[in-house]
Symmetry: C2
Subunit: 309 residues, 2 copies
């Protein structure tokens, strides 16, 4: 299958290389010129527990893509989604299918402006990866992925895409309720990312606080109000227990969430508008009360103002 | 008049020395042994814009006070109020009057457990001062103070206390609505202290954020719900404008609020339970919704857990 990975950070690079190794015709698309140049000149350097290799895979800047994909896998940061879609619009045809694997909420509505709903497939993944520098990723650990069609008539197409991913070792399963999984993952990020960033701590430290359970439940309850309106029923107890499991140092505990790394360590803008900010914005439209998500969103934006130059 | 200053930090030291200079019989009471020893041994070192002097004034540890005051001026930190009241209970008589000048909310209910309501006078002050070390304060700038009786029958007594303070140059006026002034000052501290501490910025930096006005108004509106229940009407517009004036670097702008200094600089516990925490706790009793104060209180306590060893 002809596949374009739109957004070739750590995760996009992982998916691209695994899909190419499985025999697909794969290209990477990314706006970071140095990254693209390195990949094309030296190959993508992949570090694993077994060593390091240079993997040959074509890479393009978004405006330079010369390729007609059957499938586009979106793996940008949330803030980069619109720019990416605008840049690759010329290579999209009425048949091109898109799988969206971004973290966060509200992406379907954006993608619908560029391709028919029937061609949009939403996914959520537990794979991880790390970008160590331009043209250099580290791929360790195991993962899986769920995918589902948005258009109820396209379940077969979703299953075919699952098969392509699964053949590449990505452990893909067809989901009958991917929006639930997306919301549940957004609850993880909308609590741990946001609070670790504002409190300046890692996940294990946060989990050790006497306040953690109450803070998590308050936020998840607000996410649940908006999710319910989108037909997704979040159980606050279940989601809070799921989040609490991540406090264990043998899980994600010792890890600083991506938002912390972006804002506190690297002074970059965050994805808050696609987490708590999405919830607050939708709640405002629906006349629901989510004051905590609103204030946390403003506080993260305030910290962006203070730290991002 | 025989006056005991209970809590001889920066502000207590200022009031004590000014009241003593005016001819009153004044002692200082403070739990910091090194501070008390220095004052008794060398005098209190007072730095002003005109130089430095050693001021002779007796100082006692709370458990050692040998003095029968007609008036006690409470100037502890909020967290130290109960300990101080318990320690000085033996020197209180049915005639002893108490003026409470602590920042924060909810102190009247505490003091009522130790002396009759008729003897309690609440005040709020705009004087400032800085404690530079044991036995060493800096007193610059101008100020004023409002005082009012809690028992409606005690207005004359309040006016007499005002006169004593005013004669000492403390610019005291009798207030007909001191609880309004106390709530309004608590709004200043419950926004600027809390948010500068959590966002790690000074007042001018906070004021320069595009989010500052909305954050302030959200918090003040929640304070207003509980204040209204106590008969104090806060106008969100008026209070927000009052707070915004403090962003000016010629006002408090360049200053880091006391909570920031306590927690971020000195890793000490904060007064959050007497600001946003008081509002959240009262709201819970009254079945009012103040979710933002609740979450901000939990976040400040979380930061205390992370920083206070």
């Amino acid at each position: 299958m002809k596949i374009a990975i739109a957004g070739a950070g750590a995760m996009g690079s992982r998916f691209g290389t695994m899909l190419k190794r499985a025999g697909n015709d794969v290209i990477l698309i990314d706006p970071w010129a140095e990254h693209v140049d390195k990949i094309n000149h030296d190959g993508l350097q992949i570090d694993t527990d077994n060593g390091s290799e240079q993997f040959q895979i074509p890479a393009f800047l978004p405006q330079d893509v010369d390729f007609q994909p059957e499938l586009v896998v979106l793996f940008t940061k949330s803030m980069g989604l619109v720019t990416m879609l605008k840049a690759i619009e010329p290579i999209l045809t009425p048949e091109t299918k898109i799988v969206c694997l971004l973290n966060g909420l509200g992406h379907t509505e954006v993608i619908e402006k560029y391709i028919p709903k029937a061609n949009i497939f939403m996914g959520v993944t537990l794979w991880t990866a790390a970008l160590l520098g331009a043209g250099h990723v580290k791929l360790v650990g195991d993962g899986s992925i769920e995918i589902q069609n948005i258009d109820p008539a396209e379940a077969d197409a979703a299953k075919k895409i699952c098969a392509v991913f699964d053949d590449a070792g990505l452990k893909a399963t067809y989901s009958s309720n991917v929006m639930f999984s997306i919301w549940r993952k957004a609850c993880v990020n909308g609590t741990l990312n946001t609070l670790c960033t504002l409190l300046d701590c890692n996940i294990a430290e946060f989990g050790g606080l006497p306040q953690s359970n109450d803070l998590v439940r308050t936020i998840v309850a607000e996410f649940g109000k908006v999710a319910a309106n989108e037909g997704v029923l979040l159980n606050v107890d279940e989601v809070a227990q799921h989040i609490a499991k991540l406090y264990d140092p043998s899980q994600a505990g010792e890890h600083y969430p991506s938002m912390y790394q972006d804002l506190i360590l690297h002074h970059r803008l965050t994805e808050i508008d696609y987490l708590n900010g999405y919830v607050a914005a939708q709640a405002a439209k629906l006349n629901l009360q989510t004051p905590v998500c609103q204030v946390l969103t403003e506080m993260v934006h305030a910290k962006e103002q203070l730290l991002v130059k």
